[in-house]
Amino acid sequence: MTNVVPPRVRAGLAVISWPVYVLLYTPLALVAYYSFAPAPLQTGHSFHGYAVLFSDSTVFVALQRSLILAVGSATVSTALGTLLGYGLCRFRNANARGIAANLPSLIIYTPIIMPSLVFGISELIFFNFVHSATGLLAAGLGTMVIAHITFQVPYVALTVFARLAGLDPNLFEASHDLYADGIKSFMFLTIPIVQPAIIGGFLLGITLSIDDFTISFFTSGPGSVTLPIYIYGAIAKKGISPEINALGTLMIAVVIVLALAHFFITRQRERRASLLPS
């Protein structure tokens, strides 16, 4: 296909695209650059911002909460979402029409389509009502985990569903013919086949959790400040400081390193797999 596009057009595309790539990373690079700002009344570059950051114990508590939130919610949503995607792919009557048959799709797509602000405020009000009626679900890390599970479940379900939908349905018939019952065929056929999708769903859940601010903001309580909420609060209070830039730099670096590592590891595995005789 590449030979269809003339070289002149390809050069034009490159001229437009490379600056966009640069622009995508310029703000992030500036955050890193300013994180090495000197201490007050000094010049040059320094680790002053990092020193201030690491001396602040609230940052470590916030980091801990962010990790618990991300891993905890992704674990539960992976379990719920995998079962959901599996069930919809295997046991739903594909010919059924009408509202009842479309209900699962409606339920799955609502969290994806709903603006995250509406999502967050709905949860805020709901938890508020439940708390004033029963005393349970006080705004805090618990309510944040619940909210994060809720927006991750559909994405995990869609990932697993997409993987299963691409399979030959005869595989399941074959496992039946070999006397595997429902649970056995789920454990020994489905799980291994969808394992990449389950891992992908889990990583997607963690990514969505780390990325989110709006929903966390509206479901958090006074004692459940996570990293993004900490940054937002600090900027609102006293503007951008070198220590906030240091924290931002570390968060950007972790995401970039993990994403690149994941990319190259998967690619190598795929390459190795393609070398095996089929």
Partner: protein, 315 residues
Amino acid sequence: MSGAAKIIIPEKRAAKTAVQTEARAKSFRLWITAGPGLFWVVLFLLIPSVILLAIGFFTSNDYGSPTMPLTLQPFQQVAGYSLLGWDPGNIIILLRSLEQAGIATVVTALLAYPIVFFIMTRPASVRPLLLLFIILPSWTNQVVRTYAWLELLGPNAPLTWVAHALGIVPPDLGIEPGQFAVTTGLAYNYLPYMIVPLYASAERLDWTLVEAGRDLYAKGFTLFWHTVFPQTVPGLLSGVIFVAIPAFGDYVVPQLLGGDRSLMIGSLIANQFTETPDWPYGAALTIIMLVFTGAGLVAFRVLTRKLGGAGEATI
């Protein structure tokens, strides 16, 4: 003949009940597997959002909480009516939100086409990496990647010096806070959401059509417009939805980059639940926002069907 018919009928009946029990077992398994996940989303999202919408029809008490009686007063407030008379503020904010989301969508679409085809015309081995570098910034936290633009657009930032020199922005002021900063922030945040679906449809492109077009002496933009563009319309429409809807209701970008004079509907809604609580008014604003979102989605479905776009694999 009649004997044969007698034998067939019970067999048919047996087959029918077997089908029925199988269907029943299937729906039981469906509820066992899909049930918990669906139940979770219904309990923690659908029911809460119905409650939120319902609050829009209640009266606001002194603390801004909903009380009886039911009323349409919150919607009058949304339209700009208050004890002090009519005020166009809300209408302006709504129009500004639509404008910002619209500009961000157009900008991302205009950037996405060259980038997608730039990636498509690179060797197959580097394509995934080039796509990854587009998506990567969107995996960093919303607040971090948005406040990062403050470094570029703030009063003492490099881009602002350029703007000062060109006379676009009055001296002593940054580009941020302002509408330009908000548009930029939205386009930056949502560019990957336009590129990914567009890339997916470009990957399935039938290039023989392009060759056929060239054989018919079509060139340049005409060739693109008649052979490539129609095939990418489904991806473009998905991208428009993925960008326009979240951009319209975005909270972080206008909050961090907008300032008071570029308020968008998201911040206006949030204020009714945080700073100066008035839940019914906030709920009514939410309903209006969702009406616009819903209208956009319906228009999208109609358009996709009309243009015969092949849908993605969906549940």
